[in-house]
Structures are given as structure tokens and as C-alpha cells.
Amino acid sequence: MHILETHQLKKTYRSRGKTLAAVRDVSLSIAAAEVLAFLGPNGAGKTTTIKMIAGLILPDSGSVRIAGCDPHRDSRALKLIGAVLEGNRNLYWRLTPSENLEYFGVLRGLTPRVARQRARDLLERFDLGDKRRALVQTLSRGMQQKLAIAVALIHDPQLLLLDEPTLGLDVEATESVKRLVREIAAEGRAILLTTHQLDIAEELSDRVAIINQGTVVVEEPTSELIRQFSEATYRIELEHPLDAERTNKLRSLGAVVEPKQIYLRDPDLLYTVVDGLRPLPILRVERDQASLRDIFLTLVRQGRLPELSNSGGEVRSGQLH
């Protein structure tokens, strides 16, 4: 039984005479207790999709169903959704954690008594008990994010939407958010989280949908995807751009060559390649973890993704608009 189903969502923005097809074709589904990572570079259309699911942006076409209800028409669907949107302000900074939880509880349709009870439980569970009476603006970014997740759960929704939940968090806070996500899914809730970091998707999700330029290009179980891309890869960084002759030769060996970087999928070729580079100065040789960029490069090579002029440059991390 799927909690969330979207069918061919489309959204084109028109502003100041320009049109931008932000989401072209996104169909997704998530079952109870499942975590789907929505992975893609900045500007791929992740936030737009999540907001269409939450009823905050009207799709041009396509449909969203949450346990069979359309959030754009039926306010009952909204009771099934909890969302933490991008950025750090899903809360009232001038209120305390308990006041935020109780307020949003009633706003989501609880009675004040139930809201108070749920608030107490969630504060306990999220380790925020001793900050109960501190103003939100005095909390650390990590605690604010945990509280935002608690607020999103106050009305016990079946579907939790998390837009870049670990963005801007330090290592410790990132770990505790990851732990919470796993726990929340284990309770039987469906979770859709967006990220542009492969490692987050890898650690948290059961399935990954990769989105690029508004289109889902791959959707697979995470373990499957990781298996495909986890062969040892080497990255060689050069001091100067490579000449055309060497570039061609390396390409014929199966390497992916950018002006100052070479990617190798076959570890046996490493020394052949290094020999071929002699006597050019090499800055670095490293075993690469599969990254979103590698996956994109591979997808392009496999012809599953059209060649992008900016396939490298687009994958920047830690950046908000």
C-alpha cells in the first residue's frame, strides 16, 4: 500500500518573460516505513517537487495522492503530511520549543490537550527536554533542526517530507538527524528526503530517485545503485591541462578525461595511465568514493542521461539559493 503517489508532475515557472521548466516529469511512490532519497544537483527541481506534494505549489499537470487524497483539494490529505522545508526557519524564533510544538499541534488540528501531551513526549524523545523553556533563537542550528522535525511530527503524520534535512549542520547534528530519520521510518512512516549529497542518500534511504533538470533519470533500490557504482575508482589530478593527444589515448583506454582530471573505473589500468602521463606533474592520485558526479558521468556514458554541458559544474555542494 503506497502512502504517497505522484504521477507525471510538471511545473514550469514563468517570471519576467522567462520560462523555466523546473519539473518536467516526476512520478514517485513511497510505501509505509520506506525512505526514498530524492537525489540531484542544485536546481534539479527537488524543492519544487516536494512543495507540489505538500500542496504549496500548484502543479501545471500531473497528480499527487496521499493515501488516496489530493492535498490540493482535500484538506484531510494535509493531516497526513509533515514537512520540514529547506532553510532554517520552520519555527517561531520568539517562542520556546514547547510553545512551538503546542501552537503547531493545534494548527494541525489537534486539541490543546493532545498537543500538550504530544509536545512533552516529542521533547523527551528528541532530547530537547532541558531546552524546553529556552527561546528557539538561542538554540544551535542542530537543535533547531531537530525541533523542526519534532514539529513536523506533532500531528502524527504518515508521510514526512524533509528538504535537505542535513544542510548546514555540523557533523554531530548530522548524525543525530540521521538517527532520527531511521527511527521515524522504523515507526512505519513513509519519508521522502531530498539531498544533493550522495552519502546522505546512501546512508538513509531504501530507494534512490535521481533527478536531473526536472526529470527522474534513475530510480532504484539504494543497495542496487551503490553496487553499480561502488567499483574502485581512481581520480588523478594534474597540474596543467592535458594535451589532445594524451587525452585521446586515455579515452581509448576507457578513462573519463577532463582537462585537469582523469577518472578511472578499472583499477588495473592505474599504472598504465600513470606511465602514459610521464613526465607531467601529478598533483594527486586518490581512490574516489563514488560521488553524485561519478554517477552522472557514468549515466552519461551509459547513455541513460543526455550529455550535459555543465554536468560537472552543476554538482556543487553546500549551497543554497
Binding site: K11, Y13, S15, A22, T48, K51, A54, G55, L56, I57, L58, S75, R76, L78, K79, I81, A83, L85, G87, N88, R89, N90, L91, Y92, W93, R94, L95, E99, E102, Y103, F104, V106, L107, R108, G109, L110, T111, P112, L135, V151
Partner: protein
Amino acid sequence: MLFLFWAEFKRSWIQLLRYSSEVIGGIIGTTIIFYGLFLSARYIAGPGFQFGDRLDAIIVGYVLWALMLFILGDIAGGLQQEARTGTLEQLFLSPYSAPQVFLMRAFASLTLNLAINLSILLLIMVLTGSRLAFPITLIPPLLAVLMGAYGISFAMGSLALILKQVQQLLSVFQFGLLFLFTAPVETWTGGMRIIGWLLPMAPGAGLLRDVMARGMDLNAQALALALLNGALYLVVGLALFRWSEQETKRQGKLSGY
């Protein structure tokens, strides 16, 4: 709905008490501006001049204007601020509709706004020696003015949703409002009189001046007109708000992209 009202009521009082210095600053500032105007008017008029009920009439207009500004700040200013900080989208995730949430908010902070403006009024009365009456008959015209004020605030709130940056527009608008509240529409005649009936909140404000400053009784016909005027602006304001909500969701700009 009652629960929502109560939650909003709690939220606005908590924030008020926690940041009471801002509110006290607002009360004192509003009073001082009027007192300054009063002193210069007295200087121009020369000593020994009696303002009589004209001063009282102007005080009523001024305090209504201040009340309007608080309501406008609550609704339009609040919308703009929450769009900037990011809480606005959380409000739209509520199963209550957006007009419901914002109307409950407005009602919840009404007690607070009335308390604040009564303090301003009393301060001004002490400073200027004005003698205003507070008969029970002031309630219906006040209601008419409040409905109009909410309507106008929702209309400006719609603009805030669509345009996001309305700070400058709001400040220009404030002076237009001052005109509405101080223009003596109740004394206008002929064609101007009809315009006076159509101006937002002006008929109600005129009646309030009649009962509070001039000690007159309520005229049933004028009251009916004032209430109709208020209701009309409220309905139009809410309709605009609904429309701008849809439009903003279409443009994907709720969060102020």
C-alpha cells in the same frame, strides 16, 4: 476553530509580554507624535484659542488610525515577515484554510490591539485635556470600522503575498489612511457625501466622532450604511486574499523565492 483561536490568542500574548518593550515603545511613540502636532497647532492658533469638540474629533480619528496601523501590521506586515522567515509555508500546511488561520489570528490579537490603543487614547486625553465620551453606542460604529480595517488589511496582505516587498507601499499607504480617518466625511454634502459613504472605514469613523466627540446619538440610517461599508470591504479583502493565495501557489512564491 475555537482551539485555533485560543492557540493564536496565547501566541500573540506570549510574544507581546516577551517583547513588551517594543509595544511600550509603540504606545509612547504614537502618543508623542500626536502631542507634538497638538502643541504646534496650539502655537499657530495662539493662546486662549479653544479647540472645543474639533480637538476631540481629531483625537478619535488619530487613535482609529493607530488601531488600523496595528491591524495592518498584524496581517499584512505579519504575512510579509513570515514569508521572509519561512514560517508562512508551515501555516499553509494546516488543514484549516489560510483565510481561517489569518482571521483567527486577527481576532486573537484584537483584544491586544484594543488594549494598546485604549492606552494611547487615555494618554492623549491626559496630555491634551480632551474630554471624550465613551457611550455604549460607540460599539456598532467601531465594529463597522474594524470590519473595514480587516478588509483593507487582507487586501494589503494579498499584495504582500504576491509582491513580497511592500514595505514602501505600506508606508505611503499609511498616510492615505490618516486622511480617511481624519477627513470629516460626516460634514460633507452633495456628491462628496456619496464618496464619503464609499471610502473605506470613513462612515464608521464619522459616526464614532459623532458619538464620542460631539455627544450625538446614533443615526440608524448612517449606522446601516457604515456597517454595509465595513462588510463590503471585508468581503472584498477576503476574496482578494483567496485569489492571491492561489496565484502565489501557482507562481511557487509562497516562501518568497
